[in-house]
């Protein structure tokens, strides 16, 4: 066979090439190939099956539940392959909907129905149900008066104009979990069907004891050494709303358009909870699940108002604890109220196989599906038959008082938690933030009445904020065309600068030049230039939540105005958090980095080892270092608390802590006071990156300067002051600017530390995290783009400062004798 010339040339080239490089590249490709094979084997792609996707984020038990559920569904419908997506990102389904690849089945939490309906994300199930007489009967009963199997109270709130978009699968009632052991120990009567707030308070007081067995209302009670607390409750909005409704108050009026949290009855409920914690002192100080110091399991907590999903946890973790559940207490005036949150599933409006998806949905609410759900007992089934079976299946496991399970539905006092017609998630965030600040954190900044006033004001301002300007121009391909044109213009300007006759050789080289940079040019256009320009356009537009990308509306500078005018309070919070972080982290990083660099510039044996050592934290993945620091500062097993615990009796540390309003053990990451400094410490720990730059600078300082200084009689300090510092000043300045820029982009550590959720008092809401949350939690793509551009402008300004310092740079470059 005759090889063509280019082919032969290629082979010749390869044969002559560097064996080391070739081995590296071919080796990597072989590794990739093996990985691919392994991946194929580990997750075979189902052929000739309809694939239905379902997205259910969650914990370990959710994973186990979905595993079983999937197996059962596959056994029943072998032609359908169920793909379950479980992500760390709580809002993953929304991301997928926004991305236009929604999961076929969408989980619709209690109050999010309107949110998804606005985005047109759900398929109308009414016609499908109409074709299914059995399901119709189960849902609505029949003409002969047979009772519906679904609890009507859980179905009715989901109907919109007589149409049904979702099927309720499970619901989440609240109970009071109580430890019979602790009640017995102090001879306190168990909560009964008729108990009320007063009864709750009395019992809680009787169950709260210090190390000497004294109750809080007895003289000599030692608040610092509490052995058991009487009452704890779910601190998020649903848990607290129970009390608000029992008092007859509301958070939102009936129309769902106005916040009425300043209602005196609402205030009364909040005041009651406030007094329980701060006056009676019967609630444990821990605020987040991390702080598990006081729990039913450990026998250090008497009562716990919590949703039903505590049942499996308690069964698993405390198999020998004697516990039970009781209905919620009656409010003043004997009013009963209990929140139930309905978990329902709908089919995506963009689902390709609604038939198959409906089969899955039906399987979910079937006896078999509900039995699986129930086996993991996260929530209760919405069908009476399934609920009865579930209750019986519990066997001899607690709780014994199974009548409590349906008590609120049977007696008709189950109520849905508040919902607003629009901006529910924003209002929810405001409500939760205030509840947390008043009732969960230490030292609330206001009284309950003040909190309610402030909450009402802030939440109402969110509700009345009109984001999209009606009638504005549609966003669409115009933007893309604009972006393309602008880019081509820019590139053409840059390229077309030199004109004139070129030799053949030059033209040859030019062609090769363009050919070789073409990968970058294509990549630059696709992944940098066009996105940047689109981003500019997007920052002047707004989208309704989750709606399609082309449905944006131009709103001019509205996004920038909202951010800068403080209408989005989180903007300035995030700026403040970031600046405060920079204020501590950047100077500390500069000083420590420089000190380390000088230290590591010493000519002693084995210095290379130390250089490596000091640089190691800088190469660790941010996720891992965040997890590590999260562990170091953990309230229970963290090193910091452990060491402090060992030192505490000897020193005045406890006094010091007390002056901060803290006590030992300190919940560092639950305290708005300490959290920022944990991040500062983390940044100091990874100071190696800046250090290495100093080191490079130090090594480039000509030795003659030091020799000259020595001749002049300068000591070490004078040499440092008059030679090292001036010579390093451009680098110090460079590190300063880079540090500030870097702190504006902090994201990974903040996200990992708090799982992407809100931090205590938003103390870790870094700018980058705020931007991410706006973009991918709230889907305000336009607003988030505006935030990104504000960030860019800040960075641009800072970088301009670097260039302003160019005289220094030029001097440095000249000294090094190298052209940039």
């Amino acid at each position: 066979m005759i090889l063509s010339l280019p082919m032969r040339k290629l082979i010749q080239t390869l044969a002559n090439s560097d064996p080391w490089l070739l081995t590296l590249l071919v080796g990597l490709l072989v590794v990739a190939g093996f990985c691919r094979l392994f991946m194929r084997a580990a997750s075979p792609v189902p052929a000739d099956k309809t694939v239905i996707t379902l997205c259910k984020p969650g914990f370990k038990r959710d994973r186990e539940e979905m595993k079983e559920f999937r197996a059962a569904f596959h056994a029943k419908h072998p032609d359908i392959h169920l793909k379950v997506i479980q992500s760390a990102l709580a809002r993953k389904p929304d991301t997928m909907i926004a991305a236009g690849v929604p999961p076929d089945l969408i989980f619709v939490g209690g109050n999010l129905l309107d949110y998804y309906l606005q985005a047109d994300a759900l398929l109308d199930l009414t016609p499908i149900i109409a074709r299914d007489p059995q399901l119709r009967r189960d849902l609505y009963g029949d003409a002969r008066g047979a009772a519906p199997d679904f609890f009507p109270q859980l179905l009715r709130p989901l109907e919109r104009d007589g149409r049904l978009f979702v099927l309720p699968v499970t619901y989440m009632p609240f109970f009071v979990f109580y430890s019979k052991d602790l009640f017995d120990r102090y001879h306190v009567p168990y909560p009964d069907e008729a108990w009320d707030w007063q009864g709750l308070r009395e019992r809680a007081l009787a169950l709260t004891r210090d190390a000497n067995g004294r109750r809080p209302d007895q003289p000599g009670y030692d608040r610092s050494r509490v052995v058991s607390y009487g009452f704890h409750y779910a601190k998020w909005q649903h848990g607290i709303e129970n009390f608000i409704r029992q008092a007859g108050g509301r958070l939102v009026d009936e129309t769902g358009t106005r916040i009425v949290a300043n209602d005196p009855r609402t205030v009364e409920a909040i005041q009651f909870l406030y007094d329980l914690k701060y006056v009676d002192g019967v609630c444990p100080p821990g605020v987040r699940p991390q702080k598990q110091d006081y729990s039913l399991k450990k026998g250090t907590l008497g009562m716990y108002l919590y949703p039903v999903f505590r049942i499996p946890t308690l069964r698993a973790e405390a198999p020998n604890l004697d516990w039970d559940i009781a209905p919620l207490p009656r409010g003043p005036g004997g009013r009963r109220a209990s929140m139930v949150d309905i978990n329902s599933w709908g089919i995506s409006s963009r689902c390709r196989n609604p038939e198959a998806a409906f089969k899955l949905l039906k399987f979910m609410v079937s006896a078999e599906g509900l039995a699986i759900t129930n086996r993991h007992q996260i929530f209760l089934p919405t069908r009476r038959s399934a609920l009865n079976r579930a209750r019986d299946a519990g066997g001899d496991l607690p709780p014994r008082s199974t009548w409590v399970l349906t008590h609120d539905l049977d007696h008709g006092y189950a109520e849905l938690p508040f919902a607003t017609k629009q901006y529910y998630q924003d209002v929810y965030a405001v409500v939760n933030e205030h509840f947390e600040r008043l009732l969960a954190l230490h030292n609330p900044p206001y009284t309950p009445a003040e909190m309610c006033e402030q909450l009402t004001r802030e939440a109402n301002s969110v509700l009345t904020r009109d984001r999209a300007v009606p009638g504005a121009a549609r966003f669409g391909w115009v933007a893309l065309a604009f972006a393309l044109a602008a880019t081509v213009f820019l590139v053409a300007r840059l390229v077309g600068r030199r004109r004139g006759g070129l030799s053949k050789l030059q033209r040859y080289e030019e062609r090769w030049g363009y050919a070789l940079i073409s990968p970058w040019l294509i990549g630059f256009l696709l992944f940098s230039a066009i996105p940047i320009l689109i981003s500019v356009v997007m920052s002047f537009a707004q989208w309704q939540t989750l709606s399609h990308f082309t449905h944006g509306e131009f709103v001019g500078f509205e996004n920038y105005r909202v951010a800068l005018s403080g209408e989005d309070p989180k903007f300035w919070t995030s700026v403040w958090v970031t600046l405060r972080y920079a204020l501590f982290a950047v100077p500390a990083g500069l000083i420590v980095g420089l000190a380390l660099a000088i230290l590591l510039n010493q000519r002693v044996r084995g210095i290379a080892l130390f250089r490596t050592l000091f640089y190691v934290p800088a190469v660790l993945p941010a996720v891992a270092s965040a997890v590590l620091f999260w562990h170091l500062f953990d309230v229970n097993h963290g090193w910091v608390n452990r060491v402090l615990g060992a030192l505490l009796p000897s020193g005045g540390l406890s006094d010091l802590l007390a002056s901060f309003g803290e006590s030992f053990p300190v919940a560092w990451l639950e305290s708005a006071l300490f959290t920022p400094y944990v991040f500062v410490l983390l940044s100091l720990w990874t100071v190696g990156g800046g250090m290495i730059i100093y080191l490079a600078g130090l090594q480039n300082i000509p030795t003659q300067l030091y020799e000259a200084a020595e001749v002049d009689g300068a000591g070490r300090w004078k040499q440092f002051r008059h030679v090292t510092l001036p010579m390093l000043s451009p680098i110090i300045f460079f590190n300063l600017v880079m540090g500030i820029i870097g702190s504006f982009q902090v994201f990974n550590v903040a996200f990992v530390m708090f799982d992407g959720q809100s931090s205590p008092g938003d103390s870790a809401l870094f700018y980058g995290l705020h931007l991410f949350q706006e973009a991918f939690y709230h889907y305000r793509l336009g607003y988030a783009s505006a935030l990104a551009w504000i960030l860019f402008l800040v960075i641009l300004a800072l970088t301009a400062l670097v260039f302003k310092s160019s005289p220094l740079w030029v001097h440095y470059e000249a000294a090094r004798g190298k052209k940039a």
């Binding site: 040339k9 560097d18 080391w20 590794v31 990739a32 990985c35 991946m39 580990a42 793909k83 997506i85 760390a88 991305a99 690849v101 017995d184 168990y190 067995g213 050494r225 698993a316 198999p319 020998n320 604890l321 019986d392 066997g395 009548w403 049977d410 007696h411 820019l490 840059l494 077309g496 070789l516 990968p519 970058w520 990549g523 630059f524 992944f527 996105p531 940047i532 997007m538 230290l599 510039n601 000519r603 002693v604 250089r611 000091f614 934290p617 562990h631 170091l632 953990d634 090193w639 060491v643 060992a646 290495i692 030091y706 982009q745 990974n748 799982d755 991410f772 783009s785 990104a788 960075i795």
Partner: protein, 580 residues
């Protein structure tokens, strides 16, 4: 300070001291992480913390022999000087007690035969009863009182309680408030037994009877439940008991009451029943032992209250007899609240190194880490190859080839380094959505095949500029085109930069969190960083040692790679660091 300058020995020593002191805070967190990953959960909670993965062993002398204990809190935190300890069995030297020292208390049930039927009773004020005098008792299953002869009272230990319709009749033993008088205090709980039955089942005849399981049972209506159409009744167990299928019975399995001394629960677990010498081996502990009873063993579980004398103090304890660890396969349900309290100075301690390597295996299995690692390696391998080649090519073009607009384009390239990733993240996301690349690795790989990192291009360009042009000219004379020159001359000579770029690119992929978070949906496509984050979310309440094992496994490759490639790496960092 710099070369050529002589340093004294004292100076060098001082430098070493400072270096070592400085290295401590750098290494300590990493050491702590590795250490935590090798500990048991209990060890994580020991205060003050141990600096090695030791399992400390503490001993006290009990009954004349040294017995191993676990110190839960040595009093240094609470400042009590009293240690709370858990007693451990040691195979070679178990704690053995004479049965005589384990005293069975008198907590019992009482029965009396009245009108031919046996009834459970509650003696009232037994101390006042004189011989021959009749005693007032409460008939517990008839809810009325009777006078009976104390002599006719028979006693039996409680075994189980009834439960009807899943509702237990809340009988409970009010035991041991004071051991001397506790023997006769047996009582109802505050609430009478009650069940809810449908209205039609409840006949209105004066005796109040309910048809239940085809039997007419005496019942007393307590309340009419408005909505459900149910009435609540108090159901009376007939003398011969209810014919209830065992599935509907709730049996007291030894997990119910605890005995209190000084307002604290004390429990003991019998590890081995009485041996030939009549000794019982017990374990006292503070932990909540979660051992389940297999249902078939339920009948064998009997509950007694025992007293044990330890350290000269009599303690009432609860033990569970029957199936025990002595019998293989059998498990026991034990609850062990409360602990022994000892004066801290009575404890003798010694430690043994026992790293828990099993944590790594468990962490690996908890999530599909093998798959995550393979996924990440797959992405990393392609990204590294793509980056090394494409950035090298572009860097070469910028360094050596002359074409129109080269300097302008290079400036543009440098400018892209300045733009924060957040600016492009949203449109890029939309772009990948439009391309249908969501939930594939393409968004994570393809940009890197197209020289996405301006930084690496810059690195190559800077380095290749320093390579003498003569070599290139020689290659051209030999007939090499630009591509061959690049491949045969420039790339082999740029080896330090190739290493730096490869290491940087690998680390970038390995630590990348945000982009996989956005673009990867499926579980089986997740990367290591995502897996670790999932791990943290799912396990944050318990087993931190597993999380630490997982993070150690995650950082290990980066640290190893760094150590192997550090020379080239440092050089690359220095070159780039200055230029940003």
């Amino acid at each position: 300070m710099t070369e050529g300058r002589r340093t004294s020995r004292a100076y060098r020593t001082a430098v070493y001291c400072v270096l070592v002191i400085g290295a401590l805070p750098i290494l300590l967190p990493i050491y702590w992480m590795v250490l935590a990953s090798l500990k048991t959960v209990e060890q994580l909670h020991v205060s003050p913390p141990s600096w090695t993965p030791v399992v400390p062993r503490h001993f006290v002398t009990l009954e004349g022999r040294e017995t191993q204990i676990i110190v839960m809190d040595d009093g240094s935190v609470s400042g009590t000087k009293v240690a709370r300890v858990k007693l451990l069995r040691r195979d070679d030297d178990p704690l053995r007690l004479e049965p005589g020292r384990i005293q069975t208390s008198t907590e019992t049930e009482f029965y009396a035969v009245i009108e031919g039927a046996r009834h459970r009773i509650e003696p009232r004020d037994s101390g006042a009863a004189q011989p021959g005098q009749k005693l007032e008792v409460a008939l517990l299953d008839r809810h009325r009182r009777a006078w009976i002869d104390p002599a006719s009272i028979e006693t039996r230990e409680p075994r189980w309680f009834w439960a009807v319709l899943g509702l237990d009749i809340p009988v409970r033993i009010d035991a041991g408030r004071s051991p001397e008088t506790a023997s006769h205090i047996v009582g109802w709980a505050a609430e009478p037994p009650a069940v809810a039955v449908a209205d039609e089942l409840f006949s209105e005849d004066p005796t109040g009877r309910v048809l239940w399981r085809e039997r007419s049972l005496p019942a007393e209506q307590i309340a009419r439940v408005a909505q459900g159409g149910y009435v609540r009744v108090r159901l009376v167990c007939p003398p011969d008991g209810l014919d209830v299928p065992s599935g509907e019975l709730w049996r007291e399995s030894g997990s119910g009451q605890s005995v209190r001394i000084d307002d604290r629960s004390r429990n003991v677990r019998v590890l081995r029943g009485p041996d030939e010498r009549g000794l019982v081996e017990v374990e006292l502990s503070d932990e909540y032992e979660s051992v389940r009873i297999p249902p078939e063993r339920l009948e064998r579980v009997a509950r007694r209250v025992h007293k044990v004398v330890l350290l000269g103090v009599p303690h009432l304890v609860e033990l569970v007899l029957g199936s025990s660890p002595a019998r293989p396969g059998a498990t026991v349900a034990v609850r062990v609240p409360g602990a022994l309290a000892l004066a801290a100075d009575r404890i003798r301690s010694e430690s043994r190194l026992e790293p828990q390597w099993g944590n790594y295996a468990r962490a690996w299995r908890e999530q599909r880490f093998d798959l995550f690692v393979v996924n990440t390696l797959f992405i990393a391998a392609l990204v590294v190859v793509g980056t090394v080649l494409s950035c090298g090519l572009v860097g070469y073009a910028f360094a050596r080839l002359d074409f129109r607009g080269r300097d302008g384009l290079f400036l543009l390239l440098l400018a892209t380094m300045m733009i924060p990733g957040q600016v492009t993240s949203i449109p890029t996301f939309v772009l990948f959505v439009k391309l249908g690349w969501i939930d594939t690795y393409l968004p994570l790989i393809v940009p890197h095949l197209l020289a996405h990192s301006a930084f690496f291009v810059f690195l190559y360009r800077q380095f290749m500029s320093t390579i003498p042009v003569d070599l290139e000219d020689a290659a051209r004379i030999d007939g090499c085109g630009p591509l061959a020159t690049w491949w045969l001359i420039m790339m082999p000579l740029s080896r330090p930069i190739v290493v730096t770029v490869a290491v940087f690119a690998f680390m970038g992929v390995w630590s990348d969190f945000l982009y996989p978070l956005l673009y990867i949906n499926s579980d089986e496509k997740q990367t290591v960083a995502l897996g670790l984050q999932n791990f943290k979310s799912a396990f944050q309440d318990f087993e931190p040692q597993l999380l630490m094992a997982a993070s150690t496994m995650m950082i290990a490759p980066t640290v190893l790679l760094f150590f192997f490639a550090q020379r080239a790496f440092m050089r690359g960092v220095v070159v780039t660091g200055v230029k940003g």
